[in-house]
Symmetry: C2
Subunit: 204 residues, 2 copies
């Protein structure tokens, strides 16, 4: 009577309970997904079971940058065409993927694994900040802080910038401004103020 | 650059592509789900991989009613406490689960696997209607048509009612009316008209 429709504790019920714990899924969508999987047994369910087992077996965080990959170091760290002189610091692997999708960055990454948070008890040591400092030296000339524009993200960026000051590396941040395609009327005041302050000659 | 962030064709990319094909998931939510799975390797990813493999291996349609279960006949058909004299006809296993959750039905089921549809080329033979007719006789005294209140669902219900006419079995349908907790102001005219037409003495 509770969550699912099939026999409680059965294979199908267990599958639905686990699917319901994925982000964006609830009991109802998990039931729909389970039925879809079973109705597409060969084209969807079997490949998904195999992909999940393979990812479970093989995907690990890169020991250098924290990206997820089946090899260590990861594909980004291994790529000789990338500029090892620039490291982009991000909170999560999802953020790393977002920057890769933009196609605008060809350096390396450093995934913190979150942001500083006094409430959650997350300090510098939980965040791979010591590992970032250990990467300083030799070819590294710039650290780009690409943290979320939230209070916690910016607090973390300030902290890291302070740690890196005077160590012979340039520390930069993402620009604030109007999102491409954004309508001014719908923008918050802070973004609009930042975009005005950072205005540039229109020829650029 | 296309769908996902990780190395194209890699284990993680494949997992995301497959997750994105689940109903209610798109590329973005599939990426989030994959990251969530990896960050909860032991508590979520491993159990989900195991549940998927087990369901793939064991869950099959019941040869009698079309319900999904790890055993054949299914748990509903096997239950001796259920009334074998009443069979509820539903379009899908999801509908069967919905009726089971209501707790208001203690008979058996017959899952059609869809509804009649000239456009999609779905006729009576695609729908387990012959299998329903084969269940007539002996203890069966009532067939409840619990099809969706859509045009296709009701066309299918009419067709089945015509097939069952004069075969010594009562054919009934779900009542139309005001949903429990429903506000009249938000109800469509058809439902309101049906609820008025089927009005009952208020003592009932």
């Amino acid at each position: 009577m509770a969550l699912a429709g099939p026999e409680p504790g059965g294979a199908l019920d267990r599958l639905i309970q686990l699917l319901a714990r994925l982000p964006g899924f609830g009991p109802r969508s998990a039931r729909r997904a389970a039925l879809q999987l079973i109705s597409r047994r060969e084209s969807l369910m079997a490949p998904l079971a195999a992909a999940l087992a393979e990812a479970l077996d093989k995907v690990r965080p890169c020991s250098r940058c924290g990206n997820l990959d089946t090899m260590d170091p990861c594909a980004v760290c291994r790529d000789p065409a990338r500029d090892a002189g620039v490291v982009c610091v991000v909170e999560s692997v999802g953020d790393l993927w977002a920057i890769e999708r933009s196609g605008a960055f060809r350096g390396l990454y450093h995934v913190l694994g979150g942001h500083l948070s006094a409430i959650d008890g997350i300090g510098p040591d939980e965040l791979r900040i010591p590992a970032l400092i250990a990467r300083l030296g030799a070819p590294l000339r710039e650290v780009v802080l690409a943290l979320n524009a939230t209070v916690d993200g910016q607090t973390t960026a300030h902290y890291i910038a302070a740690q890196l000051a005077g160590r012979g590396v340039a520390v930069t941040r993402l620009a604030h401004g109007v999102p491409v395609g954004g309508e001014l009327d719908y923008l918050d005041d802070g973004t609009l103020a930042a975009a005005l302050k950072a205005r540039r000659p229109s020829a650029e």
